[in-house]
Every structure is written in structure tokens, then in C-alpha cells.
């Protein structure tokens, strides 16, 4: 089950449509688990990793994935080999993911982009690595044409995520 937690105000229609897209992509139920305030002590642009760590978890089962959605900007991440713009964060095989819709002015019109990034971060929580297919949502999100892509997993990523979901205990 995917539990969507909003950290800012969103139109319920947008949330509803996002849940439908995620349900279609992973074949797992998705529901809005409520709103949550942003934790104090941090300012915009947020460090995605620190923000995700500071956020409390809603009530969920062991294999549930929690997706936090915010409209705030995220800081570029500093890595060993360089900096990379950040639109979200999640740990490999972790239970939680964070996605920002900061680059989307109208969430209703830009839902596809938000959903693509959400699919990407949730994919990491199901141990998906970055993909070679530019059409796939698991393609590195900082690449040039990523935002123009569709809410789509290539065959390999879809099969792998389905397998991981099937192996989940609950």
C-alpha cells in the first residue's frame, strides 16, 4: 500500500488523480493518509535527506510505502562526483520517499510530471535502480528530457517492482 502524505495544501482532485496514477503504475493501492506540517528548524530550500529524516511517519503496515508530497523547493544534493538537482529523495529499499512539486506551477496541469517523479522515488523504495530507457520513470531525473516523459515503467523495471511487491510479507 502506498500512503500519500501532503506537507502543503493541494487540491483533493490532484491528490486523487495522483493516487490513481500510482495505483496503475505499481498495481498497489494508494490512499491519501492526511496532511502533516513541515518540521521546524529547517528553511527553504530544504535538504531532502534531512527533511525526510525529520518527518514523522503516519500509521502504516510494515511493507507500506509512505510518500510525502511538498510544494517547497529542495536543495541540490552534493555527491562525491558532483552536485545534482533534487526533486525528491528516497533510500534504496527504504519505507519512505519525498517528492517536491516546486517546479510545477499548476499541479493539476503538471500532474504527469509530479507523478513521474513520485514513481521514480517510490521505485527506489522497491529497490529499483536507475534505468537505461529514457522513457522510463526510473531514468535519472536530472537528465535533460526527463520532465517531458510519461508516467511509464519499462518492462524490466515493471517486472522487477512487481516481483518485489509480490515478495512483500503483508
Amino acid at each position: 500500500m502506498i500512503r500519500l502524505v501532503t506537507l502543503d495544501a493541494y487540491d483533493p482532485k490532484v491528490i486523487d488523480r495522483l493516487c490513481k496514477v500510482l495505483y496503475t503504475a505499481f498495481g498497489v493501492g494508494c490512499e491519501h493518509a492526511g496532511d502533516m506540517p513541515l518540521p521546524g528548524g529547517q528553511s527553504e530550500p530544504f535538504d531532502a535527506q534531512a527533511l525526510l529524516q525529520a518527518l514523522p511517519s503516519p500509521r502504516a503496515y510494515a511493507d507500506d510505502k509512505i510518500l510525502y508530497l511538498t510544494s517547497r523547493k529542495l536543495k541540490p544534493r552534493s555527491l562525491v562526483s558532483g552536485d545534482v538537482p533534487s526533486s525528491g529523495f528516497s533510500n534504496q529499499n527504504g519505507p519512505r520517499a519525498l517528492v517536491s512539486s516546486a517546479g510545477v506551477k499548476d499541479p493539476e496541469a503538471g500532474l504527469k510530471l509530479i507523478a513521474r517523479h513520485a514513481m521514480h522515488q517510490l521505485g527506489h523504495t522497491w529497490e529499483l535502480h536507475h534505468c537505461l530507457d529514457p522513457r522510463c520513470a526510473m531514468y535519472p531525473p536530472w537528465t535533460l528530457n526527463y520532465d517531458a516523459g510519461d508516467t511509464f515503467f519499462d518492462t524490466f523495471c515493471r517486472d522487477k517492482s512487481e516481483q518485489k511487491i509480490r515478495l512483500a510479507k503483508s
Partner: protein, 288 residues
Amino acid sequence: MAETVLPPPLTLAVGDRVVYPNQGVCRVTSVESKEVAGQTLTFVTMKREEDGAVVMVPEAKVRSIGLRKVAGRADVDRVFTFLRSDSDKANLDWKQRARTNVERMSQGGLIGLAEVVKGLQVLSELRPLPTKERELYDNARHLLVAELSASLNIAEVDAEDSVDVVLFPPGRERPKRTAEEFRTVGGEEDGMELGEDLLELGGEIEVGAEAEPEEAEAEEPAEPAPKAKPPAKGKGEKKAPAEKKPAPDKKKAAAKKPAAKPEKKAAPKKPAAKAPAKKPAAKPAKKK
């Protein structure tokens, strides 16, 4: 492969982090003697960090298995330098590529994993990878990321992004590769035809390049000297000027002499393939 020389003997102690080829990062949990079939053997017991799977290896076999300590900072720097370079192109012969990749995965160390990842990533820019190679790519990437993460003491997601920032630089468009880039580096085209068939390739590039010399031969009646050469060369791409000349002649000849075509070897194949498509279209017309 550069890593053909056997590594120095490995002394393992409890708590050491090691890499088991094709399995990932493990931690040594015990080194103990056991009696097996009347012989006393020393076993190294390791626990895979990823999922806690336990592996026992006789100490005498540690070296031959390819077990090694987690790569150091110098190795990691070598890997990033290699990933940044534009030198590595996968072999277009799928058999040789598979053999090399298996060897790299088991004996190549961290740089071997990077070679597999980069080789297949660059190849994917030419054409989509077949399922087996896509799996191999994912495995190699998984092992590379796990070892980098252990070596640099960072999260796996950071290690993966560090690799991908180099492989897929931000703001740069995905390059479109041509078969020529791979051929000049690989230099061997013997397995090309078989590889194409088995890998279900589109054949837009290679088929055209290989078909050209054959057609050129057939449609050059005026030049006896070049006629004899192409069959002997077969796959020579380096003599580009010689191949380029017949191409325009071909088109002209095709336009001028349509009646001569059916006599040639290549021509009968084409109508045979097209014929079944035309027949069904003609039938409904008769019925009407």
C-alpha cells in the same frame, strides 16, 4: 583484462568487510576449524550485508574464489576517472561481450564492475539491451553501488547517484551512437550477423552497412577490378571511399535498368517477401 595477475594472499579476521564476487559486500563473522570427511579445514564464515545470507568458504579457496577486501579510496577514484573517460565501447560481438563481462564480474574487481556498467550503458545508447544483458547491467550496477557505498561509507542512493551523475551528466542530451564507433574500437565483426539475429536488433545501421558491398558487386558490370575485391573483403569498412563510389551507381543502375534486377541474387528475395502482402489486397477487389 588488466586483472589477470592473482591478488596477494588475503588474511581475514573477524569483522573485516570483504567482497564476494557476484554476491556483494560481506562481513567476516568467524574463522574456525572444522572437521570435514576426516580432514581439518579452516572455514571463513561471512554474512552478506544486504540480506544476512551466510556463506562458508574454506580458507584455502578464498584466493581462487576471488574474494577481496572492499575497495579503497584509490580504487574508487580510478573508477570515477574511468567512468568519466570516453574510452570504453562494448564489443558488438555478443559472444565475446558476454564472455568478457562474465570475467569482469567475477575477477575484475571494482573496476571490472564499472567496466560492465559503462560498457552496457554506452551500448544501450546504440540499441536497447536484450533481457539477459539488461539483467546483467542491473546486477553489475547493484554490486558496484553496494561496494562504492561500503567503500565511501555513504548511503547506497548517494553512491548510485554519484555514478549516474557521471554516466548521465545533468543538462546533457543522451548521445546517439553509431555502430561505427563500436567497430573501430572492437575491431571484430565476425559475429556481427549472428549477434544481430539473436539480439533481435533493429538492424537499421549494421544491415545497411553490410548489405552495401554485396549490392555494389552485383551492379557493377563495367569495372572488373573492383568486382573481384569486395567478395574477398567481405566486412571491410575501412575502405570507405571504394564503397561509397558504387552506391550512387547502384541507384542510377536501378533507375535505368529495372528489367535487369530480377536476374540478380538479391532481387528474388525482395519480391518473395512482398508478394504475400499484395495478394490479400487484390482478393477483395476481385470479389467486388
